[in-house]
Subunit: 253 residues, 2 copies
């Protein structure tokens, strides 16, 4: 059964893309055929893995049906079993031609579920706009990265409310797979406090794995590759490997 | 002559809000009557200064004319001469009721220019959508924060293209006041490389001041206050003081 996970948070720079890239890479390295869908017109996941876009606007082609998932997906050059649907064109930011009530959303989701991938991971932009809504509409579960700093807590509450409201209109509710604490710095009290606070208020949802701040993760991105290849023994790489294990152990989205 | 500066970048978490808050605070501390307009529905600038919203949706009230700038602006509790227009309601994210071609945009800008403030600083969300476009439409100059990490460079080029395109339709072009390098870590090669690269390709636009990564800035936000009060001798506070001096020394937007 294909599992579809969205990585979403309207707060900027909290590690959505880094999480999408590395969770995708480590799931693939664990033997899961994985599709990473880059739904952010900024295309950081696409460039962070050096994937060649097959066309200027894959999402547009999917929508009109002039191409399908498997014909548009491209391999991530350095990660076997990881494929990427590259980012939408900038024009999609306005997204007015799409309506999320369209049956096309459901059809495309059905095709994903029926397809060859074991896991689908969706990277989304730092908004609660249409592209993020699309990611949530396609997904069964959502991982919400929360940076271990102040503003992140406020954003988390808003995100959970948004998901709650969306679930009011869904036949099958979107599961909060977990809250992922990111950019953790053990030497900073503020960072430690955010971890304690999230674990206190969301004990069932805070994921066990915490992603430390580790320059190797930023460097890997600047080399257009995942840390699993670039710096596999770094703390950041190990943390994401453990995240993939934790997600695999879930028996649900 | 009132100077209106937008702080804008579609990349998330690059220090837009931290820059808006601290540039606003240090301009005010330098004697400039300053208005900080929080155009991000996430309201990080509003909460980062502990400002009480006068109404749920100040932008909406301004738009319909049921209130004006001075009646809606609220003082930042700990910074004399700094006032804040608190964040729009979340409903404004869709912004369909506003059209940026509306004469209301120009009228509101004219009121700002005619008003009592010496400086207006506008914080915007991590998008190139309508609220950011509104910030750019009201502004004379834009400061683009660029995080000293890989993805930031790509985002910078897109941002400059966006401004260029917007300027094609403007009587008075929007000035790029400067590119502000933020979250700099001197011990990381990647960080140093981004600084060199930005200064090499944009020698006239890269601002002299570089903002270092300094936990005091994040801690100040968690206390709902600017570092100018919370940790005035921290490196982060000094850097923003110097930024305010650099901006004041410009004889243009
Ligand atoms: N654990 C980490 N340690 C060090 N750097 C990191 C870590 N996670 C992410 N980064 C870096 O921080 C920056 C922001 O991360 P990233 O782009 O993944 O966040 P994002 O939430 O996707 O941002 P956006 O909201 O713009 O989409 C990037 O330069 C990235 O390489
Ligand atoms: N120089 C700095 N040193 C340390 N922490 C910083 C610095 N600048 C910003 N931060 C922290 O990093 C996080 C992101 O910064 P900030 O919210 O200012 O970015 P932003 O661009 O406004 O984000 P968004 O795209 O979500 O609006 C915040 O928790 C902030 O307190
Ligand atoms: Mg991203
Ligand atoms: Mg912000």
């Amino acid at each position: 059964m294909t599992r579809i996970l969205a990585i979403a948070s309207q707060k900027g720079g909290v590690g959505k893309t880094t999480t999408a890239v590395h969770l995708g890479a480590y799931l693939a390295l664990a033997g899961q055929r994985t599709l990473l869908i880059d739904l952010d017109p900024q295309g950081n996941a696409t460039s962070g893995l050096s994937v060649e876009p097959p066309v200027a606007d894959p999402l547009g082609e999917l929508w009109t049906g002039s191409a399908d998932w498997s014909s548009l997906a491209r391999p991530a050059p350095e990660v076997d079993r990881l494929q990427v649907l590259t980012s939408p064109s900038r024009a999609r930011e306005s997204f007015e031609s799409f309506t999320l009530r369209s049956s096309r959303v459901t059809e495309l989701r059905a095709q994903l579920l029926a397809g060859d991938w074991d896991f689908v991971v969706i990277d989304s932009p730092p908004t609660l706009g249409p592209l993020t809504s699309l990611a949530l509409a396609w997904a069964d579960g959502v991982i919400i990265p929360v940076q271990c700093e102040y503003f992140a807590m406020e954003g988390l509450t808003q995100m959970l409310e948004t998901i709650g409201r969306a679930n009011a209109g869904r036949a099958i509710p979107l599961e909060v797979t977990g809250i992922l604490l990111t950019l953790f710095s053990e030497s900073f009290e503020l960072s430690v406090e955010v971890v304690e606070e999230v674990r206190k208020y969301f004990p069932d949802k805070a994921l066990q794995t915490i992603i430390p701040r580790d320059i190797a993760l930023a460097e890997a991105a600047s080399h257009g590759t995942a840390a699993s290849g670039y710096a596999p023994r770094s703390r950041g790489a190990w943390a994401y490997l453990n995240l993939a294990k934790e997600i695999l152990a879930h028996d649900h989205a």
